[in-house]
């Protein structure tokens, strides 16, 4: 096993310096990704055997939840109340909120169901910003070219073109909801570069861009006609006689009951899967990010893509342990912070695309040039004092969240570097959609991180906040229009599609012991009959707990 330098020794060796040259030996080489990026770990993928993507490669841990049995069957729904609506939105992050707001504005009756509270999502944690080409030396075409280039192939070009074209109007829409951005002295939007961008294009609000966006969108939803159901995760979608999506089964965590919500359109905006901790990595994701939407859509027959590629954000906190995985924005590197190994040497151009930078950090630690944090976790330094030396006061002004994180960690990032290691950040693949957010199953729309194609195999900073609003608005408007389409009289709904899926599982000799969606990560030990405020101990936990 590789031995890295102990934390205390490495921090003693560190000296703050404003400038450090990138050694010419730091060339990453051709095979950096193949050798060190977790997407290339041997045996991490298997072939799916069941469902619309049978035969496609998929990460083992994701395949486990996709090829699981349902949590419910028809008998569970015997006395469940039925509710009808026009549009049902599942998920309360930025994508779900913008879809719900636009659907309601188009005149539809909207229910928004969320597993936890409204706004509990990855959106609220996004820090760095949102991309939109607005500067005079930038164009949507350049934004598109950067997005395609950063994607490492396999991008859905139509979706990428739509997203970059929507960019400036998305910013206008957000300002109209009451969202603030950082402005210069004349009131123009400030922009900064991100890894893989050819012009300054990231708009931001401090390092709280997602928080600012989410608190504004949440307030807008609470002040609209959208009916919000909190603590109500969806456990299955409903189908009609033609196999189209016709609503969902929601499970109330408050009183252990199921409700059938019949809807003319369903918009799934459940986010990603960081809390599955793929390959044992820490994550920057929200507590509820365990891939519920992928499971629900897949069982109903929706086609997915790129299930073998995930983004590991280069700078997740590696010390202290209880805050492990917490995100530090790429904005800090945009502002010029270096990455240093235990010998205080730079080892990669810090603004290369995220997959390259993450792989280089993993390489340093794998080859003994990392810092050992002492709890089974290694990392390298994010040299925050260097930017403070060059521009005194920048930390307080631009990165208040990082300063707050420093206080909670007992480290002042203006004086001392933060120890970081890549953290599982984003699901690149997901449900296949068109420009309106429609999946391959009629009546089912998907928006946000649950979708694939927009970013190919690697996403640029700031493109996810753009994606959720761009496609969230589109899906909301389209789903609301569909309500008035021909043949939209309410049909009989059922779980008929489950029967077919179960038959496939049995024919493929898959064990029917595991159930999904998981709803929560395994370590929360939440079970069907668990008390949601955790005042009662789980019966299956041994007494020595």
């Amino acid at each position: 096993m590789t031995i890295n330098i102990p934390y205390d020794e490495a921090i003693r060796r560190y000296r703050p310096l404003a400038e450090r040259a990138l050694p010419c030996t730091a060339d990453p080489g051709e095979d950096l990704l193949q050798r060190y990026h977790p997407d290339y770990i041997a045996d991490r993928c298997i072939q799916l055997t069941v469902g619309a993507n049978a035969g496609d490669p998929c990460h083992r841990q994701l395949a486990d939840v996709l090829q699981s049995d349902s949590r419910i069957d028809e008998a569970d729904l015997a006395a469940s109340p039925e509710v009808e609506t026009d549009v049902l939105v599942i998920g309360g992050g930025g994508a779900g909120c913008s879809a719900a707001l636009e659907a309601a504005r188009a005149g539809a009756r909207v229910i928004l169901a969320t597993k936890l509270r409204l706004g509990d999502s990855n959106t609220v944690m996004a820090e760095g910003g949102i991309q939109a080409s607005i500067e005079k030396d930038d164009t949507p075409q350049m934004h598109y070219d950067d997005t395609v280039k950063g994607a490492s192939g396999q991008i859905d070009r139509t979706l990428a073109a739509q997203m970059v074209t929507d960019g400036p109007d998305v910013i206008r829409w957000l300002i109209q909801q009451g969202m603030q951005f950082d402005l210069d002295q004349y009131g123009d939007l400030l922009t900064r570069r991100a890894g893989g961008t050819s012009a300054p294009r990231v708009l931001y609000f401090r390092d709280y861009t997602g928080l600012e966006m989410m608190r504004v969108l949440r307030e807008a939803v609470f002040n609209s006609d959208v009916e919000v159901w909190d603590y109500c995760p969806a456990v299955e979608l409903l189908s009609d006689q033609s196999g189209h999506c016709a609503g969902a089964v929601l499970s109330s965590l408050k009183d252990y009951t199921y409700s059938l919500v019949k809807a003319k359109s369903v918009i799934v905006a459940t986010g990603g899967i960081g809390r599955l901790h793929l390959n044992g990595f820490p994550t920057s994701n929200h507590f509820g990010a365990v891939g519920d939407g992928l499971v629900l859509a897949y069982r109903l027959g929706a086609k997915l893509r790129d299930l073998d590629t995930f983004q590991y954000h280069p700078t997740g906190l590696a010390h202290p342990h209880h805050l492990g995985g917490t995100l530090i924005t790429e904005g800090v590197r945009s502002a010029g912070a270096y990455l240093l190994n235990a010998a205080s040497e730079r080892f990669i151009d810090e603004l290369r695309p995220r997959d390259h930078v993450a792989a280089a950090i993993i390489r340093e630690c794998a080859e003994g040039r990392g810092v050992d944090a002492g709890h089974g976790q290694s990392g390298v330094w994010l040299d925050t004092p260097s930017i403070e030396l060059r521009s005194p006061g920048i930390m307080e002004q631009r990165f208040p969240k990082l300063l707050h994180l420093g206080i909670k960690s007992g480290i002042d990032p203006r004086q001392q570097p933060m120890l970081i290691y890549p953290t599982l950040h984003y699901q690149n693949g997901g449900v296949i959609i068109n420009r309106q957010g429609a999946s391959t199953v009629p009546g089912l729309y998907c928006v946000g991180e649950v979708c694939g194609g927009v970013h190919g195999r690697n996403r640029l900073m700031g493109n996810s906040l753009l994606e959720i609003i761009s496609f969230g608005r589109r899906a909301g408007t389209t789903a609301a229009k569909r309500v008035h389409g021909a043949g939209m009289r309410q049909k009989k709904v059922s779980l008929e599609h489950l029967r077919a899926f179960r038959r496939e599982l049995m024919l493929a000799k898959m064990p029917l012991t595991q159930q999904s969606p998981l709803l929560f990560p395994e370590y929360a030990k939440f079970e069907k009959d668990s008390d949601y405020d955790g005042l009662r101990r789980n019966t299956r936990v041994a007494d020595d707990g």
């Binding site: 936890l116 509270r117 409204l118 509990d120 609220v124 944690m125 607005i134 500067e135 005079k136 949507p140 075409q141 074209t165 400036p168 109007d169 910013i171 206008r172 109209q176 909801q177 009451g178 603030q180 951005f181 402005l183 004349y186 009131g187 123009d188 939007l189 997602g210 928080l211 608190r215 504004v216 949440r218 307030e219 609470f222 002040n223 919000v228 603590y231 965590l253 920057s284 929200h286 507590f287 342990h321 209880h322 995100l327 709890h375 969240k401 994180l405 909670k408 929560f520 370590y523 030990k525 939440f526 668990s530 949601y532 955790g534 005042l535 009662r536 101990r537 789980n538 936990v541 707990g545």
Partner: protein, 208 residues
């Protein structure tokens, strides 16, 4: 390193006596001990304001409010999770405010209780992000919305200030209103508007 090799900390959470390894947060310790709490758990990174707790440390009479995800456990600590209050009871829509001259009048219609502030300071004391909450309310009442909003950059909408207010003011929503009207009426970036105009005229098409 195995978990058993770590030092165990004894503390009380929600009235239950718990032992957990020293490097855990309050929420992690609760899970470790077999209490499957999911209510009030959110981002786990201190930005969603969901996991509000009361804390009393050993040998101290002082009770403080913190976020359970950021709080490292300590020997003899006593922690209680707080109930998350109901959503705000005001309703307003920015579109209802005809122009920026009317914002002050509308504010007092929407938040009539804000002007009743007794300056007890409860809201400021309770804020886990050390925001000068009371000052923000005072500024908003005077119509200085931009300044009021500026104080609340770090607000995670945990609603603790609302819980603390004897006049039932909702300071965080007062602040969010202040921030929203500032953007809605005053953010007019020329670089963005210029770009939107060009695009409206059909220039700058993207070729796939």
């Amino acid at each position: 390193m195995t978990e058993a090799a770590k030092k165990l900390i004894n503390l009380r959470i929600n009235g239950k006596d718990i032992s957990a390894p020293e490097s855990l947060s309050v929420i992690q310790a609760l899970w470790y001990a077999g209490y499957p709490r999911v209510k009030g758990v959110g981002c786990l990174q201190g930005v969603c304001g969901s996991c509000r707790v009361f804390v009393r440390r050993a040998d101290s009479n002082e009770v403080s409010t913190e976020l359970g995800c950021e709080l490292l456990i300590e020997e003899g600590m006593d922690v209680s999770f707080l109930i998350y209050p109901i959503p705000p009871y005001q309703t307003y829509s920015l579109e209802e405010i005809p122009n920026s001259w009317e914002v002050q009048a509308k504010f007092h219609e929407i938040f009539p209780e804000a002007a009743q502030c007794r300056h007890c300071g409860g809201c400021t004391t309770t804020c886990p992000k050390d925001i000068d909450v009371e000052k923000g309310v005072e500024l908003a009442v005077k119509g200085r919305f931009q300044e009021a909003g500026e104080l609340f950059v770090q607000c995670v909408m945990c609603n603790l200030c609302q819980t603390a207010c004897p006049e039932l003011i909702t300071p965080n929503h007062v602040a969010l209103f202040s921030r929203r009207v500032t953007a809605y009426f005053h953010t007019r970036p020329s670089n963005l508007i210029h770009r939107l105009e060009k695009m409206r005229k059909g220039q700058l098409q993207v070729i796939e």
